[in-house]
């Protein structure tokens, strides 16, 4: 079975209660929509207090190329536009909407039947994706339309669909592949048309046999799309690792996937593309896994964006008494939340509640030079060296140790027997070296 060749770790996959059906979360009384929910230039709100909005009304504008707009996930009245602390406690602008009924914009096709014929042309599809505010749903929130417009000298050969879901606990992509396989593949066909590629491969890890079987069966009706089962290994869902696993190509240091003829999109992004292109529906809701070892019934919820985390937790019976931490995303790369009043955004794939005894870091011991971090690093770096040089503020050496290639997957910290904060030190070095490089480029 295929996989990537360097490094990687095997965390316990903990896909709890994955076969439970998806549930729709009731719309809360008030939603709070973050103004910027993508990677890139910040957006500006274009509605004001007291405005009436419907589901799908555009809320923000952004002229920048690397950007995505946000649509109203509910119908109602704009209560206020104010700064609220996000997961990092930094205040970020958000639009608060009081929910009144559930009235949708007329242009959105809400009929349940699947629309198979793709009538739009390639450039029209890209324009539609941009208008509908589609971003990468795996967590990074990179605007999808940007990926579909490769530079002139590069040509895409493969579209790779990421159904790997290598983060432990998360099951939302698995659920989506079981429930909406055909829509995902229609979305993928639309992306193939936009990119003008003939071949697409769906990568799914071997711990999801039902999804592999169902997707393979469905893909028979789609010429050019094949399904590839992959050996279980973290971080297979990372772009460069997935390309290596599915095509055998290695993305050179400092290059993009398009340089080796690949474009990678998450299966959830494909589903969103299907809804945008075929149903004219903007990105206003997503599947969120609410899970944790002490949650009685971990469930996948389809919820409108801007729903507070507390509403999700109430739906699974509240926070268990022994909880120590609530994380947005998975345990490997997710971010601890500072408050359960934080609202869901386009990139929030899961809410993980960890019990107190799993929630904290262990005592740090000195480095014993065992080299486990070097074995684990999927980019072939030497995390102990990068960490040491960064902490000694010897950033020239940090740069020479290829810190900029780090994908921040956390395998080094996961494998360290001395519980050293390797990823933290590497991230600090990466941020500083990035600044030094930008300053140097600005000078030249």
């Amino acid at each position: 079975m295929k996989t990537f060749n360097i490094g990687g770790v095997h965390p316990n996959d903990s896909k709890l209660n994955a076969d439970a059906p998806m549930q729709e979360l009731p719309i809360p009384k008030q939603v709070c929509v973050m103004v910027s929910q993508h990677l890139g230039a910040p957006s500006q709100p274009i509605v004001k207090k007291g405005d009436k909005v419907k589901v799908g009304t555009v809320l923000t504008s952004n002229e920048a190329f690397l950007s995505a707009v946000v649509h109203s996930p509910v119908s109602g009245t704009v209560n206020k536009i104010a700064d609220i602390p996000d997961a990092s406690l930094y205040p970020k602008p958000a639009i608060f909407i009081d929910v009144e009924g559930d009235e949708w914009e007329e242009s959105i096709d809400r009929s349940p039947e699947i629309k198979r014929e793709i009538s739009l042309s390639g450039p029209e599809i890209i324009q539609k994706i941009k208008e509908m505010g589609i971003v990468g749903m795996g967590g990074a929130c990179f605007p999808t339309h940007v990926k579909l417009m490769p530079p002139k000298d590069a040509k895409a050969e493969f579209l790779l669909l990421n159904g790997v879901e290598c983060e432990p606990y998360l099951t939302c992509d698995y659920r989506l592949m079981l429930d909406h396989a055909e829509e995902i593949l229609i979305g993928a066909s639309a992306l193939m048309k936009a990119l003008d590629v003939k071949q697409a491969i769906v990568g799914i890890e071997a711990n999801k046999p039902k999804a592999i079987a169902h997707m393979t069966e469905t893909a028979k009706n789609f010429p050019g799309i094949s399904v590839q089962a992959l050996k279980m290994k973290y971080p297979q869902g990372a772009e460069k690792q997935l390309i290596k696993a599915l095509t055998g190509r290695a993305v050179p240091s400092g290059k993009l996937p398009i340089n080796v003829g690949c474009v990678v999109d998450n299966v959830a992004t494909c589903y969103a593309v299907y809804q945008a292109v075929q149903k004219n529906m903007p990105l206003i809701q997503r599947m969120v896994t609410v899970t944790g070892p002490s949650i009685p019934e971990p469930t996948n919820f389809l919820a409108r964006l801007g729903t507070p985390v507390s509403a999700f937790l109430e739906a699974v019976g509240g926070i268990p008494g022994d909880s120590g931490k609530v994380i947005s995303g998975g345990p490997m790369m997710g971010k601890a939340l500072s408050s359960t009043e934080t609202c869901s955004v386009k990139g929030m794939s899961g809410i993980l509640v960890l019990p107190e005894k799993q929630a904290h870091r262990q005592t740090v011991y000195p480095c014993i030079r065992c080299g486990k971090c070097v074995d684990a690093c999927p980019m072939g770096l030497e995390p102990y060296l990068i960490a040491a040089t960064a902490m000694a503020k010897d950033f020239e050496k940090t740069e020479k140790a290829r810190v900029m290639d780090c994908i921040e997957c956390g395998c080094c910290q996961f494998s360290c027997p001395s519980f050293r904060p390797l990823l933290d030190s590497v991230k600090l070095g990466k941020a500083t070296v990035g600044k030094i490089i930008r300053a140097r480029n600005a000078k030249n």
């Binding site: 700064d83 602390p85 990092s88 406690l89 930094y90 205040p91 601890a336 500072s338 408050s339 904290h360 870091r361 904060p421 933290d424 030190s425 991230k427 600090l428 941020a431 500083t432």
Partner: protein, 302 residues
């Protein structure tokens, strides 16, 4: 047997003499003339190689001082050092106003109660890239002590009670290494003013008062009361923050009295004037009652 000993002694003595002569002539030939005062000045400098002057070290600085009479000198030297150097060089000792580092944040554990706990790498610059501060202030002191690690003089230490760094007035040389180390620019070198006390704004929160008072009890809300009472017009307002111009300030402490949130700071605390100025005791009471009401209100809403 005796011969062997004699040969060895004579040979070694002769070899030693020849090599000594070579060394002597080489030393004469390649002799470097150096001002003897450089060594003396280098000895008189603090010798921490802190880098505050921008030179490679204290000796490099000594070369500069000896060779360039117009050069103002080491920013770290105290009066004693300056007098010694002046004596060596036969110059008039320059007058230097002593200065010290101040922390423009009064949050910490007491005034800005922790809402979250940060367990990652205990480094301010790393924590700054991930979050605000444990109390929620995006501009406040993180308290992981990057500044204390940067200090070459053992003058900065985190006070475990407040969680904020405090400068030792005896040891601080105002070299400014800590001001560079702070990722939030909270440290500033200001005049020491040992007799009157130094006045500055103990807050860098640029947010509006409605937000900043939610995360800290002593945030500057940019109300401008201090600027109104200042007889020297030393206080300017920008970005919801007041700033006291160190050159204009006469440490009259009127602004300290007027500040409703107690962000305006006087250090050391024993220099604080008894808080009952002659002109109007009544408004002073009002100003003290007002912040109390304000804090309870924000606590209730928060």
């Amino acid at each position: 047997m005796n011969e062997t000993v004699i040969y060895s002694v004579v040979l070694l003595a002769a070899l030693g003499l020849v090599l000594a002569l070579i060394l002597y002539f080489v030393a004469q030939k390649f002799k470097v003339e150096e001002d003897p005062r450089i060594d003396l000045v280098a000895e008189a400098l603090p010798g921490a190689n802190c880098g505050a002057c921008g030179k490679a070290g204290c000796r490099d600085m000594a070369v500069q001082i000896v060779n360039d009479p117009a050069y103002t000198g080491c920013p770290v030297c105290n009066e004693e050092n300056i007098a010694k150097i002046a004596e060596i060089l036969g110059r008039v000792p320059e007058k230097k106003e002593p200065s010290i580092v101040v922390l423009k944040c009064k949050g910490g554990k007491i005034n800005s109660e922790a809402k979250v706990k940060f367990e990652g790498l205990q480094s301010c610059s790393y924590a700054n890239s991930l979050m605000t501060s444990e109390g929620g202030c995006p501009f406040g002191c993180l308290g992981f002590g990057d500044c204390t690690k940067a200090c070459s003089f053992d003058a900065l230490h985190i006070n475990p009670e407040t969680g904020l760094p405090e400068a030792d007035p005896e040891k601080c040389t105002s070299c400014g290494a800590c001001t560079q180390a702070c990722p939030r620019g909270l440290l500033e070198i200001r005049k020491k003013r040992e007799d009157t006390g130094r006045v500055y704004v103990g807050c860098m929160n640029k947010q509006k008062g409605v937000y900043s008072t939610k995360v800290c009890k002593v945030s500057c809300i940019g109300c401008g009361k201090c600027a109104k009472v200042c007889p020297q017009n030393a206080i300017t307002l920008a970005n919801n923050l007041a700033y006291v111009d160190d050159n204009l300030c006469i440490a009259c402490q009127k602004c300290v009295e007027a500040c409703p949130t107690k962000a305006m700071t006087i250090m050391p605390l024993d220099k604080k004037l008894p808080s009952a100025p002659k002109p109007a005791p009544a408004p002073k009471e009002a100003s003290e009652a007002a912040p109390a009401a304000e804090t309870t209100k924000t606590e209730a809403t928060a």
